[in-house]
């Protein structure tokens, strides 16, 4: 369930005017921006952008970019974009990082529905005049690329049908590969990057039934874990239990405040209208502190105000 709270009455024109006022004069009224944008869903935000453009002949997004700064600006920018466009931007940012952030690409391929992922790929082409596949394929050669190119190219079947025999045999294939530490085998990549989510979950269940240990635990093993293993682990997690995956990501992101606000922003902004509520429940169960409290404690200012609004904290 979503955490975003929107008011019962909505007027794009009123909001556009209120935002215009927030930009007037010296300095910007960030609180007004949070108060308005922090409580509008994707459709409403789009209407506000259009109203603003019509009323004032200015691109609201560009205005926000120039008037705001720091983590707050980055969060607002990501928040105000259309979801598919936003994910395209996030993918591009991840690709250009010197330390390759493969989580973003894995999330797109494994958490989003096939149609949502397709919309992201279209938005990516429109924005960057390249296909996402091209850009992923031409970065970072090596094993990781093989997995990521496969994940990014897929258009998974999204039906619920499962083939139990297949689940058995593919669970065995995965188990063999993990036992032999043959992580980047063609078969592992084939299975994880082409099968439907329903089929994969059946396979993971079968894995646990047969081998007593869940595939996620098996992937991490006892010894030092390679980047590739981490990527496989994230892939399995995203397909099998995305709420747990995101809760962990938030926990790690909060621990890294001061060095990495991007992850925190990304998770909250991309899930606030989807399933942040469920993620919050898992977060609380795992950490015995609510996400609201954890965020309040670690960050400050307008950035904090926006994130808390998106998390659903009532004023």
């Amino acid at each position: 369930m979503a955490t975003l709270i929107t008011p019962p009455h909505f007027s794009a024109v009123e909001d556009a005017e209120a935002l215009r006022n927030a930009f007037k004069g010296w300095g910007t009224d960030e609180k007004a921006i949070v108060r308005i944008l922090g409580h509008r869903n994707a459709v409403q935000r789009k209407q506000i952008r259009e109203a603003y453009d019509q009323l004032f002949q200015e691109d609201l997004v560009k205005r926000l970019e120039s008037d705001l700064s720091g983590h707050f600006e980055r969060a607002v920018y990501r928040w105000i974009l259309d979801p598919a466009d936003r994910d395209a931007v996030l993918a591009n940012v991840a690709l250009r990082k010197s330390e390759y952030d493969f989580n973003v690409l894995i999330e797109l391929s494994c958490v989003l529905s096939p149609e949502e992922f397709l919309a992201v790929k279209r938005a990516y082409q429109f924005r960057y005049k390249h296909s996402l596949e091209e850009d992923v394929a031409s970065h970072n050669p090596g094993d990781l690329r093989k997995l990521l190119v496969a994940l990014v190219g897929v258009y998974r079947y999204n039906g619920e049908e499962i083939n139990a025999t297949l689940a058995n045999s593919e669970a065995d294939i995965l188990h063999e590969a993990i036992k032999k530490k043959d992580f980047n085998s063609d078969e592992v990549i084939r299975i994880l990057s082409t099968r439907s989510k329903a089929q994969l979950n059946a396979t993971f269940n079968r894995y646990r039934e047969e081998h007593k240990l869940s595939i996620t635990k098996d992937l991490l093993g006892a010894s030092a874990v390679s980047e590739f293993q981490k990527a496989l682990h994230a892939t399995v997690r995203c397909i099998n239990d995305p709420h747990k995956y995101y809760a962990k990501l938030l926990r790690d992101g909060i621990k890294r405040i001061g060095t990495d606000e991007d992850t925190l922003t990304r998770v909250i902004v991309t899930r606030a209208e989807k399933d942040l509520k469920d993620i919050k429940e898992v977060y609380y169960k795992k950490n015995s502190v609510s996400l609201d409290d954890a965020v309040s404690k670690e960050i400050s200012g307008d950035y904090k105000a926006l994130l808390l609004a998106l998390i659903g904290k009532q004023d």
């Binding site: 397709l118 031409s138 190219g153 079947y157 084939r190 439907s196």
Partner: protein, 314 residues
Amino acid sequence: MALTDEIQTLTKAFTGLGVDERSLVTILGKWKPEERQSFRKGNPNFFKEDERHFERCHEDYVKRLEQEFMRFKKAIVLWTMHPWERDARMAKKAIKKGPEAYAVLVEIACSRSSEELLGARRAYHSLFEHSIEEDTSRYIKGSERKLLVALVSAYRYEGSKVEEDHAKSEAKALANAIKNSDKKKLLEDDEVVRILATRSKPHIQAVYKQYKQISDKNLDEDLEVALILKETVQCLCSPEKYYTKVLDEALKNGTNQKIRKALTRVIVTQADADMKNIREEFQTKYGVALSKKIEDTACGSYKDFLVNLVARGN
């Protein structure tokens, strides 16, 4: 018509591509038993004298007849299908058939637009409850697998923007791979697969040009050692040349049934796409109009239908 002429006409009606329905109706419809017997006795290719004193059909006479009658039906069914379903069904057959049919996968993945290929992938979901990439990676085991999985998964950028320096460096990379192809097989080379399976078509055409400048050779010809790579480049850069060659092969005398099937496939799938270019290329390359070649080789409703499709796109 004299009986000998009628026998000749009937023999021809059973020998071309398709069957000449009109002759069958008018001739066979009026022949008495003795005339039909003359036909059987006069056609040792189709019938042989059995020890128990009757003219017996050769096994493959019956089989061939079935295939020739089916040609029209298959063409109609293929033509009336939604193009997405058509491509999905052809892809499924090709995956099951094996190496001899991989070119069909290349055609679908490379000569359709990005949205058409996407549509085919959607139809594949509906028809077969699996994604095309699942089945391609599961059933194809040989060295072509890497390339084919990548090709069917492609969602290429369709704009015209090309970065010339990338095209240049990728042409160089391909030239290197080709030079070292005895040490490392081209189909196993990640760079080769990456470039051909992810880049936009205008980009690959630019790479083709740059390759010509660097090496003074044609990229597709230099990739001939792995025929499927040559076909890939041709479908991406100059599909009309590729299809013209396939049609010529299919229309030759004495080719086997497998190659002849391409005639229906190419004409039906290209009738609303590239037919005008294919007609022009065929005329230029072979000095005869495609429709004339079809008139000479095929017969009956099948022929009429194909000629109709070929005339489109004016």
